[in-house]
Subunit: 234 residues, 2 copies
Amino acid sequence: QIAEQAAEMFDRGLLAGQHVVITAGPTREAIDPVRYISNHSSGKMGYSLAEAAIDAGAQVTLISGPVNLPAPARCQRVMVESAEQMLEASLNHVSQCDIFIASAAVADYRPAAIAEHKMKKGKEEIMELHLVKNPDIVATVAALENKPFTVGFAAETKDVIGYAQGKLVRKNLDLIIANDVSRSDIGFNSDDNAVSVISIDSIKELPLCSKRQLAAKLVEIIAQAQTGSAKPGS
Amino acid sequence: QIAEQAAEMFDRGLLAGQHVVITAGPTREAIDPVRYISNHSSGKMGYSLAEAAIDAGAQVTLISGPVNLPAPARCQRVMVESAEQMLEASLNHVSQCDIFIASAAVADYRPAAIAEHKMKKGKEEIMELHLVKNPDIVATVAALENKPFTVGFAAETKDVIGYAQGKLVRKNLDLIIANDVSRSDIGFNSDDNAVSVISIDSIKELPLCSKRQLAAKLVEIIAQAQTGSAKPGS
């Protein structure tokens, strides 16, 4: 019966009339004009979510770090490099949105200063790179007075559920999607993924499948959770 | 007349019977299972050089960092991630080679230790990343007793010629190809490039053209310089 209901909702366009902002990919934090710190995020999960949300009838803004993926059709894509640029783009677009999905793998830290010229290799056998904490984009959005339904991601290598539940509460998220990036069959550069979807009172396991299939399921879960969370009269 | 000579040499296969090892792309230096330090090298210059060397009749081994480029046809490609892996692959292949072209943008430093698990963002507003110097691949090859004809690259943002000449001498290279990566019209992610080819007694400027055209010219210059440098009786 739930399956029927879901199918009906898809038929009607599960996210018709909704504006969804999705962040995707890694960020790059410049060390100097040629070097940077980044991570292995391919952007595939976020791009699949954007496509699934578009298929479900949503108007989608995709805020993307540097990836090698084409922009999905019928989608506004905003390309950024650093976490600070991604935050700025998110705040620019989020005030008008209903759902914010933060799937980007944002660098936690960035170099404290960007060298103007390429740093020369000296005789030093060791070097210290001074890093400062980046803004927490999903937490910043979730702290807004009129926050959208906010979905975070947790890529962990141990105690995946525990860390994800901690993030959900600490950052005031509505849902968090957790995956174990220590597994080599899933995660950052894989076409497949397996995740747990965690809310304040539930954990739902989604077994291994393609990121495309997973994205369709996640959009369904997010749409249903968002409907359920809507305040009376709103 | 020189042009005619060059055309003739190309007709005969300028590098026929020669084994050329080329490194290309960036290296990635792991911070933890998900994060790394890298740089903006696209690998296009090195891959173009591999294609030009193959066209000139050489047997080519391309040792490549992570890039989004297909392997050239008729080429042995060895994929690596870190500078240490690139050094190991280079030493494995260089003993049988006539020409070594180090076009990869090798990270000068790597994290001193790779964290086994993803580092958790703590409450710390700042963090120090401890780096150690990577092996110098081109200098290691150029220091071998039976070194191949060794060509280095210098990507600089200021005093380009000066730094490149210093590298040529200090690292015992036969040629160094210098470019100014502070120019936005050329360099790492561009399809075009303009370089200076520097030997111990000459500087040759190659004006802006496609990396493909430039690679053909560079292969010609390298082949001629290598022939000129061949020891009598060798």
